[in-house]
Structures are given as structure tokens and as C-alpha cells.
């Protein structure tokens, strides 16, 4: 049944968010540290395990794929509810600081991608 997939997704989501908030609490930071990431790892691990044991039907899986197909519409709704005016009310400092930081990140993508790829292909025998 589809609801089994949705329920599994909800369980992983809530468990991941709990781990994220717990981690924040332990480090003394308000909020959620990596909750979405933990939830994704849980969902991948549990669904792979269930599929291997034949306990996860294709029908259940559609309960999850529906929500994964909904993220573009949800992102559009998110874009429509951003405080876009604030971006321009912060003046030049905000515009320049935000844009320059983003550009710096963009430019570092090829550098770090290469670094990581090299380390992986050698399988790091020295460690």
C-alpha cells in the first residue's frame, strides 16, 4: 500500500530531524544540524534493506516517489514566499557580500571536485 511508503518516509524524516536537533542541543546551537541529511541516509539504508528482504513493494515505493516528484512545485512555492525585498533593502553591503560569497563558492567547485576525485580513485593506501 502507498501509505506504507509515505509512513516510512515520515518516520525517517522525523527520526532525522530529531537527530539533527539533538546534535544541536549537544553542541549548544539553536536548531537543526544536518537533520535532512540524517533522514536521507536513514531512508536510503532502510529502503535498501527492506527491498533486499522483499518487504518493500513497488506499490509502497510510489508513496515516496510521489513526494520526491513534488519538490520542484514546493521549491516554486518557497521561491514565491521568500523575503525578496529584504535582499534589496540591505543596501550595497548585503548585495555585495551575498553575491561575492556565492561567486567564491561557485569558483571553488571545480577545484574541490578534482581534489576529492583524486583521493577516491587512489583509495588512499597511505591511511
Amino acid at each position: 500500500m502507498k501509505i506504507y511508503g509515505v509512513a516510512l518516509l515520515c518516520a525517517c524524516f522525523l527520526a532525522g530531524k530529531s537527530i539533527g536537533h539533538l546534535l544541536g542541543e549537544l553542541l549548544g546551537i539553536p536548531g537543526d544540524i544536518g537533520g535532512v541529511g540524517f533522514a536521507m541516509l536513514l531512508l536510503m539504508g532502510i529502503s535498501a534493506y527492506l527491498r533486499k528482504r522483499g518487504r518493500f513493494s513497488a506499490e509502497s515505493e510510489t508513496g515516496i516517489t510521489f513526494w520526491s516528484a513534488m519538490y520542484i512545485p514546493i521549491i516554486v512555492a518557497m521561491a514565491a514566499t521568500l523575503n525578496v525585498k529584504a535582499a534589496f533593502s540591505g543596501g550595497w553591503t548585503a548585495l555585495l557580500a551575498g553575491a561575492a560569497a556565492t561567486l567564491a563558492g561557485f569558483l571553488l567547485v571545480p577545484v574541490l571536485t578534482r581534489l576529492g576525485a583524486k583521493g577516491d580513485s587512489h583509495d588512499n593506501p597511505e591511511h
Partner: protein, 249 residues
């Protein structure tokens, strides 16, 4: 038209689904019409969303009571939920392999954003460590800025600037990613994880990757989700202390 009010008021979320459906329908039609899909429909839809956000202020289009449901649909609950669901299409092995590069990109991403933010603020005339740290933190994400600013006692004006800097980052990422993706080699899951760690604004990373190549979304989201937490950890503590050494308060 009084009879219509309760229909909208009680069914805001449903209306939001309809509105977003219409935006996507329109965007994909335009994308098909202009250049036969060369401009991704998802990218057009996101830009249309941003344009609609201009009609309101703090909550964008959701500031209008008619569209209040958009804030629920576009809020962090549904966003995070649907992003987690995309993990079904991700490969656990790829993520394990990229783990170290992802972690490295997170650390470097937070440091670089902070340094760039501080330098810009310095160049534009801010000289006290508290304001510089807060604006630098805002250049990480629009959550790191106010968290840091209130922790170290920045003025509300500076905190507002830090939030604005973070929002600018989200917007530039959303619009810029599909334009620059090929040139910076953002074509593999591996590069997407590095990208998520370097940029860090979850909403910008997810929206930008969605407009570039939907398959990359889970990988970018995976690392980006740790960025804000790491920023909140480093900015008001180590970074602030280090900056105080150079600039006595």
C-alpha cells in the same frame, strides 16, 4: 463575493497547490515555446516564483491573505520532507565515496563565505569586530547571520544587513546555478555534493540544482543541510575570537 472567503480561508493549502500547478504549466509552456526547452521549465517557474514574491514583503506572495497557503506549501516542513524523499533516487555508495570531499567542502565553504563577507563589510566602512563577524556570518546563510549577530550583540541594523546578505546568496544561487553549472563542472553527483557544501544555502542549492539537473538534488541537499549548523557553530565562536585578535573591540 463574501461566500468565497471561507472557501479560500479554509483551503489555503489546496489553493496553493493549484497556483503552483498553474505556474509550472505556464513555465513549461513558455520553455517549450522559447527555444524548445533550452531554458529549463523548472528554472523559469522558480524565477516566476521569485517575481511573485515581490508583490509582498516578509513572506512574499503569502503576505496576501488569499495566498497565505503558499507559505505552508513553501515552508521548511514540506521543503525538507520532499527533499528527503528525493533520497530514493540517490546512490548510497556515491555518497559514502564523496564523504570526505563533502566534509572538506563544508569547512572551506563556511570559511570562504565568512572571509568574503568580512572583507566586503570592511571595504564598505564597517570596522568593529561585532558588525564584521555578523555580516560575514550572513554571507554564509540568512540563518547563520542573525544567530551569530544576536549571540555577540550586534545592532538590529547590522543583523538586518546580515539576513539580506544571506537572502541575496540564496537568490544568486537559485538563478546563477543553471547558468554556470557546465562551466564549473557541476554535472556529477560528486560535484553536486561539493557544491552543496561550498554554497550551503539549502533553499538556494536545492532550487538551483532543480533548475539544472533534477538528479543532482539529493546529493547537493545532503551536504548543504550541515552548512547552517556548522556556520552557527564556527561564526560566533572561533571566527569571532580570531577577528577580535586583529581588530580590538
Amino acid at each position: 463575493m463574501d461566500w468565497l472567503d471561507p472557501v479560500i480561508g479554509k483551503n489555503g493549502l489546496i489553493l496553493a497547490f493549484l497556483v503552483v500547478g498553474l505556474i509550472l504549466l505556464f513555465s513549461y509552456a513558455v520553455s517549450h515555446f522559447l527555444g524548445r526547452g533550452r531554458i529549463p521549465g523548472a528554472a523559469l517557474a522558480i524565477i516566476m516564483g521569485l517575481a511573485l514574491a515581490f508583490t509582498g514583503s516578509e513572506k512574499g506572495i503569502a503576505d496576501h491573505p488569499l495566498f497565505a497557503g503558499m507559505a505552508v506549501l513553501g515552508g521548511s516542513m514540506f521543503r525538507d520532507f520532499s527533499v528527503v524523499a528525493t533520497a530514493m533516487g540517490a546512490n548510497l555508495e556515491t555518497i559514502r565515496k564523496t564523504g570526505r570531499a563533502g566534509f572538506l567542502s563544508l569547512l572551506i565553504g563556511v570559511c570562504i563565505s565568512f572571509i568574503v563577507g568580512v572583507l566586503v563589510a570592511w571595504a564598505l566602512g564597517y570596522t568593529d569586530a561585532v558588525s564584521l563577524t555578523t555580516i560575514g556570518a550572513g554571507a554564509c546563510t540568512y540563518i547563520v547571520g542573525p544567530v551569530t549577530g544576536s549571540a555577540i550583540g550586534a545592532t538590529s541594523e547590522v543583523i538586518a544587513i546580515s539576513v539580506a546578505a544571506g537572502v541575496v546568496k540564496t537568490l544568486v544561487t537559485t538563478i546563477g546555478t543553471p547558468l554556470i553549472a557546465r562551466r564549473i563542472g557541476l554535472t556529477s553527483p560528486h560535484a553536486a555534493m561539493v557544491f552543496g557544501g561550498l554554497i550551503g544555502t539549502t533553499s538556494g542549492v536545492v532550487a538551483g540544482l532543480a533548475a539544472t539537473d533534477a538528479k543532482l538534488v539529493p546529493y547537493g541537499a545532503m551536504t548543504a543541510t550541515f552548512y547552517t549548523g556548522l556556520g552557527c557553530l564556527l561564526c560566533p565562536s572561533i571566527f569571532y575570537v580570531l577577528l577580535r585578535i586583529f581588530i580590538p573591540a
